[in-house]
Symmetry: C2
Subunit: 413 residues, 2 copies
């Protein structure tokens, strides 16, 4: 019999973040964990004393199966950055007091860069103070910007959604444009890393063109060059579809959306909140070229569209959740589970454990050589990297025509 | 052996407009049509001499099957209004000269209100001039605003997409909101009719709340009342999700988006092009309440998301296409195929033919009694009406993880 486990979810949701939770719960049960607790709204909720005994809620194999198909954080998420240890030990003592009271042996945290920072700090504190808890992180982010791991769970499903949706948008535009030109700008998430925006290239195939231009935040964006490129494309075709990252900047280092927008909002981590890049560029094209334009912001749909998840992604998310429990039970501490691509063809991927200190607060960008020289498209290498991650489907379970989810109903227990 | 058929597609695309085309092609073949022509970009392209012999392009049963799963107009669409007959007979003579040259017996047009107007005028002109062609319309519009027919093909799939996406957006917001309130405004298509916006209520079930407020264009919208409703909802919950139609107006008759937007664009039919209702309302809430807000515009995704089509809708779209060919071959002229709901439980629906003069240019709005007294939600009757239309799925055929489409490649022949 092993000790107790606590698991939390943190940061922006994905379509498969609950598949990792399902992997944690399943493996913890299989390996004989005594109790499996879930923090509500991550470490922030836990600090407020909010947690549940998950055996009260996830009970059947069907629960596990529906959990794998439910988007967004089942336990609730948070965006909360722990202070540095030397800044405030009180908060750490409070956390460990609660962990000790619950007799926690393993602390599993499913999240992105900021969540791995939490794992790093808590594991450091445990070592400093001689606490016995093991802290292991489970990678999760649609942004695919975590270091060391080949890719992050959540990215494949978002990429599949973005590729499919881009293809449908292109088809829509081509079907409509006859005597009018239509320029469509699709805005994709990704503050500094262009992985998701590059995924729009997946639309391209023998039955569809891809976007005409793809702009990632890794390369400075020039507004006049962009306008003249669209102008020259319109000389030979009726529709132009452009994919842009929300985070593209000019060479002066200013976000493109700031040229048009009034809003300047900063979140709890000091990240600038961006909106309106597509709208700004569509308005610019309207004014400069005078054609019909459309701005499409994929917004939160791209991270919550579990109805179009990648089965590969769901399975890998489940696997990293399970691997985290195994690692923690075997004594790993201050580690994150990573995905290691063993082979490209056939695609094979395994899990491994890695020191979280080398991962947290490092952002993995798209390598410059995976973007064409002009900075207007991704290369074949980019596509080959991403393609295995979007393969296969896990069909939603529809009830009355709408996909079924499982939700934590605290009033039920 | 029957004579030749020509078929066209017109107006805004849907996820299933090609399923109707597939129904036309299949039935025309089965009933022994000599030739099946397709107008490129509807009557507008036909006037420019653009058409194809479809037997060169849609050849196998697999082609038909993929066509049913391909969104947007395979033949290309147009937004083109024929002049009144007395205004310009030249254009009519030109059309009939081409039809006679191609030995056309039946003219099938797949479209919405404006397309039925085309069927009406052409059939009138044929009668006046003694031409023998038969003109039959196939209903198609995500807006569900055609008269007489129980509903329109294209609506069910859009409703399924909207219901599913709304549910995912609600889950995303609930998962994230802990110490911050989040107000999400979802903007749905529908200039005058609120059918699509009402479909957001499909998100509601035992595993999910629905939107908190739903505003249709059938009821005047009051901005201060809206703000105070959101304010009072935030007293008892962390997230508020509001669905609004792009076409909501204040009691002064002014579009809500006009209070914020600068753009004033009118399309070929004199309809005002609207954008930015959600953005305007989100900004208003930010300013008045000071909480985090999100504006999500479903934009063209809602009409082109074949990856989440309703199988019921696909089958009905196919059936009305076939029924149009049958009707035209049997001598019907100036008619539209309608869907007749025979039974609600179990849901049963058949096709019938109806005089297009009583359909074209009439808009079917959501009955006032299907909207609650306050004008902030749809009733159970509305949900019961819509629910059968979103049932079952027709899974896309993925190639390399992305749904396969069939496209008209004019360079191939």
């Amino acid at each position: 019999m092993k000790g107790n486990i606590i698991v939390g979810q943190s940061g922006g949701p994905t379509a498969v973040i609950n598949s990792s939770l399902a992997g944690v719960v399943k493996t913890a049960k299989d390996r004989g964990a005594k109790k499996i607790y879930g923090m509500l709204h991550g470490i922030q909720g836990f600090l407020d004393g909010k947690y549940v005994d998950l055996s009260d809620y996830i009970q059947t194999e069907l629960d596990i199966e529906i959990l794998k198909r439910t988007p967004s954080a089942y336990l609730g998420s948070c965006r909360y950055k722990l202070p540095e240890i030397h800044e405030n030990t009180e908060i750490y003592e409070k956390i460990f007091e609660s962990l000790n009271k619950l007799d926690i042996e393993c602390f599993i945290y499913i999240g992105g860069n900021d969540s791995m920072d939490t794992i790093r700090k808590l594991s450091d504190y445990a070592i400093i103070k001689g606490y016995s808890q093991k802290f292991v992180g489970v990678p999760k982010t649609i942004d695919n910007d975590l270091a060391i791991t080949d890719h992050t769970p959540g990215f494949g499903s978002a990429a599949k959604y973005i590729g499919t949706t881009t293809k449908e948008v292109i088809r829509d535009a081509i079907g409509l444009a006859y005597n009018t030109d239509i320029v469509t700008i699709i805005e994709v998430m990704g503050r500094n890393a262009g992985w998701l925006t590059g995924a729009t290239a997946l639309a391209k195939g023998e039955d569809s063109p891809g976007p005409d231009l793809i702009y990632l935040p890794e390369v400075p964006f020039d507004i006049p060059t962009f306008v003249s490129k669209v102008k020259s494309l319109l000389k030979k075709q009726k529709t132009v579809v452009v994919a842009v990252s929300e985070g593209i900047k000019t060479k002066e280092g200013k976000y493109v959306c700031e040229y048009g927008a009034a809003v300047d909002y900063v979140d709890a981590f000091g990240h600038k909140q961006l909106t309106g890049t597509a709208t700004f560029l569509a308005n610019t094209i309207s004014a400069e070229i005078g054609c019909k334009t459309r701005a499409i912001e994929l917004s939160t749909l791209q991270r919550s569209a579990a109805h179009l998840a990648s089965r590969t992604d769901i399975n890998e998310a489940f696997a990293v959740g399970g691997a985290a429990v195994k690692a923690a039970f075997e004594g790993d501490n201050g580690k994150m589970i990573i995905l290691k691509r063993v082979s490209d063809d056939p695609y094979q991927c395994t899990t491994d454990v890695y020191d979280v200190h080398k991962i947290s607060n490092v952002e993995k960008l798209v390598p410059r050589e995976w973007i064409n020289k002009e900075g207007t498209y991704v290369t074949e290498e980019f596509i080959s990297y991403i393609e295995p991650l979007i393969q296969a489907e896990l069909i939603p379970v529809p009830v009355e025509g709408i996909p079924r989810h499982i939700v934590l109903d605290l009033t039920k227990k």
